[in-house]
C-alpha cells in the first residue's frame, strides 16, 4: 500500500486530560483513503479516548484535526457526522427500547412531506441493508434489546455503513462475536477498504490486526509508542511495543 497524496485524516499533537490524568498525551497519527490503521495498546492506554476526540464524543484540550488537509472543527457527534465520520462504539450505542430501523436512523430519520417520521420507509431501507450485511436478520419489529450480541452488532455496523461514511471508526467490532460473524466483519472491512474508506480499527486480537490492518499505531500510558507497517513486522514486534513500549528495529513509519 502506498501512502501518497493528502491523508484523509490527520490527528496532530492531540492531548486530553481528565482531572490531571493525561489520558492522551501529544499523539499524532494519520489515515489514508483505502487504508486500515489499527490502534493498539493495553486497556487504559488512551485508544478509545483518542478516537472519541475524532468522533466528537470528547473535546480535546490541545492539538488539531485535519480532514483532507483542511482543519476540522469537531465539537460534538453532529459535527463529526458532517465530515462523514461514522463510529461503531464498543458499547454499540444503541437505544435498547427502539427497533432496528429507529436505531439505524437515529438522529437522521427519514420524514414524510408533512415532517412526520416515515417508519415504513425506514424499515424498508433497513431490510435492504440488513439483507446485504446479515441476511439471517429477521427481528425488524422487536426492540433491539431482544437481539443477540451479533445481531446488535450488525445493527450498529449497518448504521455506520448506510450513510456513506468516508471515515469509519470501529472500536473492537468483533469483541462480542462468534467466529462466523467475525469472518463477516472481516469481509466487510475488506469491501469498505476497496471502496476507498479510511478505517481506524481499535483491536486487541493481534491476529486480527495482522490480517486486517495496513499500519498499526501503538499507545501506552496515553503516549504514542510508534506506528509500524504491519507487513514489515512480526507479532512479537507489535507485542513488544504494546507490553514494553519498545519500538522495533524495522517497519517504523
Amino acid at each position: 500500500m502506498t501512502r501518497q497524496g493528502k491523508p484523509l485524516v490527520e490527528l496532530r499533537d492531540i492531548s486530553i486530560a481528565f482531572g490531571g490524568i493525561k489520558a492522551v498525551d501529544h499523539v499524532t497519527i494519520d489515515l489514508h483513503p483505502g487504508e486500515v490503521v489499527g490502534l493498539l495498546g493495553h486497556n487504559g492506554a488512551g485508544k478509545s479516548t483518542l478516537i472519541k476526540c475524532l468522533s466528537g464524543a470528547y473535546q480535546m484540550d490541545s492539538g488539531a484535526i485535519y480532514i483532507n488537509g483542511e482543519k476540522a472543527e469537531i465539537r460534538n457527534p453532529r459535527d463529526a457526522r458532517r465530515y462523514n465520520i461514522e463510529t461503531i462504539y464498543q458499547t454499540l450505542a444503541l437505544a435498547d427500547n427502539l427497533d432496528a430501523a429507529s436505531n439505524l436512523f437515529l438522529g437522521r430519520e427519514l420524514v414524510t412531506p408533512l415532517g412526520f417520521v416515515d417508519d415504513a420507509q425506514m424499515e424498508a431501507e433497513t431490510r435492504k441493508i440488513m439483507g446485504r450485511l446479515n441476511p439471517n436478520f429477521r427481528k425488524f419489529k422487536e426492540p433491539v434489546k431482544a437481539l443477540s450480541g451479533g445481531q446488535r452488532q450488525s445493527v450498529a455496523i449497518a448504521r455506520a455503513v448506510y450513510f456513506n461514511a468516508k471515515i469509519l471508526i470501529m472500536d473492537e467490532p468483533t469483541a462480542a462475536l462468534g467466529p462466523h460473524e467475525t469472518q463477516m466483519v472481516a469481509e466487510l472491512i475488506e469491501e469498505l477498504k476497496a471502496q476507498g474508506l479510511g478505517i481506524f480499527l481499535i483491536e486487541h486480537d493481534i491476529h486480527n490486526v495482522m490480517k486486517l490492518c495496513d499500519r498499526a499505531s501503538v499507545m501506552k500510558n496515553g503516549q504514542l509508542v510508534g506506528t509500524v507497517d504491519v507487513k514489515q513486522v512480526t507479532d512479537e514486534d507489535i507485542l513488544g511495543m504494546i507490553i514494553l513500549g519498545k519500538t522495533p528495529d524495522r517497519g517504523m513509519v
Binding site: 468522533s55 464524543a57 460534538n76 457527534p77 453532529r78 457526522r81 463510529t87 462504539y89 458499547t91 454499540l92 450505542a93 444503541l94 437505544a95 435498547d96 427500547n97 427502539l98 429507529s102 436505531n103 437515529l106 438522529g107 437522521r108 430519520e109 420524514v111 415532517g115 412526520f116 417520521v117 417508519d119 415504513a120 420507509q121 424499515e123 424498508a124 431490510r127 440488513m130 439483507g131 446485504r132 450485511l133 441476511p135 436478520f137 429477521r138 434489546k145 431482544a146 469481509e187
Partner: protein, 429 residues
C-alpha cells in the same frame, strides 16, 4: 451476500395476534371495567349513569392532560414534582389577568379578555417549564431537586401575586373550559363523533396502505375491519352517553329567561360533549402523534432508552430536556385553565397534590420510572382509573382515610403487576 431475506413462515396466529392489540392496554381496560361494574353493583346502578360518567369525565381532564406530558418526562428518566405548583401559579396569573388587570383596561366582559388570559397562562407555564428544563439539562441539577424546589416556590409565588385572595368571578367565555358551563349540545357532539370516527378509520386504512406499499405483512382484512368497528364503537358510544345526560329543568329555565324567552312545555335538552373533554381528546391525539410520528418523540424515547446513545447519535439531549419540560409547563397551564374554570374561581390551593396524582396516573398507565417505556393512552387511562376509584369510593361512602389508603395500594399493586407481566414476557425489569 445478496440473497433477499426469505419471508418469515406465517405461524398460525391467535385472535390476539391477528388484532395486534397491546395486552397491557387490554389489561388496563379490563381493570377499569371491573372497577366500574363493582361500583355500579354497590351503588345500585348509580355509578354507570350518564350523569356520573359525565362528571367523571370532567373531573379527570385536568390530571389527564398533565399526565400526557409526565409520560415524556418520566420516559427520559426525569420526574416533575412541581406540576401542581406550576398549575397553581398559571392559575394565579390567569386569575389576576381576567379578574383584575384586563377588565380594568378593556372593561368587564370584553371579548379580548379570554384569549389574552389564556395566552398569559400558556406563556407563564412555558417559561417556568423551560427554566426547569434548563436547570436539569444544562446545569445538570437532578430533576427531582429542581422540581422539589419548584413545588415549594411556584405555588407561593402565585400566593404572593394574589395576596392569597380567592379570585373570581371569572370571565364568562373563559368559564366554558370548565365542563358543565361549556358543553356542545347533542348535534355538534354527534357531528364531532362522526368526524373522529372517519379520521380513525382513515388512519387505520392509511397505515395498512403504507405496509402494503412496502410489502410488509398486514393483518387479515377481518381483523382490520374489527379494529375499525371497535374504534368507531368506542367513539360513538362515548358521545351517546354524554348526549343522553339531560340538562336539569331549572337550569334550562334560567337559560331561556336569560335569553328573554319562556321555555316550551316538555322541552328537553342534553349536555353533550364538554369542551374540556374535547380538549383532552385533542391533546391526547396530538401527544400520541408527537410521541410516535415526530423526530422529537423519537428522541424522547431514544434518550430514555439510552442517553449516551442518543447523545452519540448527534441528538442535542440538553435542548431536548428543555423542550420536554417546557411542554410539561404548557400542559400545566392548559390544566390550570380547565381546573380554574371548573371551580369557577382561582384559589390558593388549586391543584394541591396534583403532582402525585399525575405521576400515579402515568405510572399506573405503564410508564416505567427506569425510562424508555410509556404511552399517552396509558397515562390517560391511568388518570381515568384513579378518578373512578376516588369518586366511586366517595359515592359508596368510604371514609376519607380509606380512600387514600386504597388509591395508594392500587398504585403499588399496579406497578407490581406490571413488573410480573414484564418478567413473563421476558422483558428486562
Amino acid at each position: 451476500m445478496h440473497t433477499p431475506a426469505p419471508q418469515e413462515a406465517a405461524p398460525k396466529r391467535s385472535l390476539m395476534q391477528s388484532l395486534e392489540l397491546d395486552t397491557r392496554l387490554l389489561g388496563m381496560i379490563g381493570a377499569f371495567v371491573v372497577i366500574c361494574l363493582v361500583f355500579n353493583l354497590i351503588t345500585d346502578g348509580r355509578f354507570l349513569t350518564a350523569r356520573n360518567i359525565f362528571n367523571l369525565a370532567i373531573q379527570t381532564v385536568s390530571v389527564a392532560i398533565m399526565a400526557t406530558g409526565m409520560v415524556f418526562v418520566i420516559v427520559t428518566r426525569h420526574i416533575d414534582l412541581s406540576v401542581g405548583a406550576v398549575l397553581a401559579i398559571c392559575s394565579a396569573v390567569m386569575g389576576v389577568l381576567q379578574v383584575q388587570l384586563l377588565p380594568a383596561y378593556f372593561g368587564l366582559g370584553h371579548p379580548a379578555i379570554m384569549p389574552l388570559t389564556v395566552l398569559g397562562g400558556l406563556v407563564t407555564g412555558a417559561v417556568i417549564g423551560a427554566f426547569n428544563g434548563w436547570l436539569v439539562g444544562y446545569q445538570r441539577i437532578p430533576a427531582f431537586i429542581v422540581t422539589l424546589g419548584g413545588l415549594l416556590i411556584w405555588r407561593n409565588v402565585g400566593w404572593y401575586l394574589t395576596d392569597g385572595q380567592t379570585l373570581g368571578p371569572l370571565d364568562q367565555t373563559f368559564r366554558l373550559f370548565g365542563g358543565v358551563e361549556g358543553t356542545m349540545g347533542s348535534a355538534i357532539s354527534w357531528g364531532l363523533g362522526a368526524l373522529f370516527s372517519v379520521l380513525a378509520v382513515f388512519a387505520l386504512w392509511r397505515g395498512r396502505q403504507a405496509k402494503i406499499r412496502h410489502e410488509f405483512p398486514v393483518k387479515p382484512l377481518w381483523a382490520e375491519g374489527a379494529m375499525m368497528v371497535i374504534a368507531v364503537g368506542a367513539i360513538m358510544g362515548l358521545v351517546a352517553i354524554l348526549n343522553s345526560y339531560e340538562i336539569p329543568i331549572g337550569r334550562l329555565k334560567r337559560q331561556f329567561e336569560a335569553a328573554g324567552e319562556t321555555m316550551p312545555v316538555g322541552y328537553v335538552d342534553y349536555y353533550g360533549l364538554p369542551i374540556s373533554v374535547l380538549l383532552l381528546i385533542l391533546i391526547a391525539v396530538a401527544m400520541t402523534l408527537i410521541a410516535r410520528r415526530t423526530r422529537f418523540g423519537r428522541y424522547v424515547f431514544a434518550a430514555g432508552g439510552n442517553p449516551d446513545a442518543a447523545e452519540l447519535s448527534g441528538i442535542n439531549t440538553r435542548m431536548l430536556t428543555v423542550k420536554i419540560f417546557m411542554l410539561m409547563g404548557v400542559l400545566c397551564a392548559i390544566s390550570a385553565m380547565v381546573a380554574q374554570a371548573r371551580l369557577a374561581n382561582h384559589t390558593n390551593d388549586i391543584g394541591t397534590l396534583d403532582e402525585l396524582r399525575v405521576i400515579a396516573a402515568a405510572v399506573i398507565g405503564g410508564t416505567a420510572l427506569a425510562g424508555g417505556v410509556g404511552t399517552i393512552y396509558g397515562a390517560v387511562l391511568g388518570a381515568i382509573i384513579m378518578q373512578s376509584l376516588q369518586s366511586g369510593m366517595a359515592m359508596v361512602g368510604v371514609d376519607a382515610p380509606f380512600q387514600n389508603i386504597v388509591v395508594g395500594g392500587v398504585l403499588v399493586l399496579a406497578v407490581w403487576i406490571d413488573i410480573q407481566y414484564r418478567k413473563r414476557t421476558g422483558e428486562k425489569v
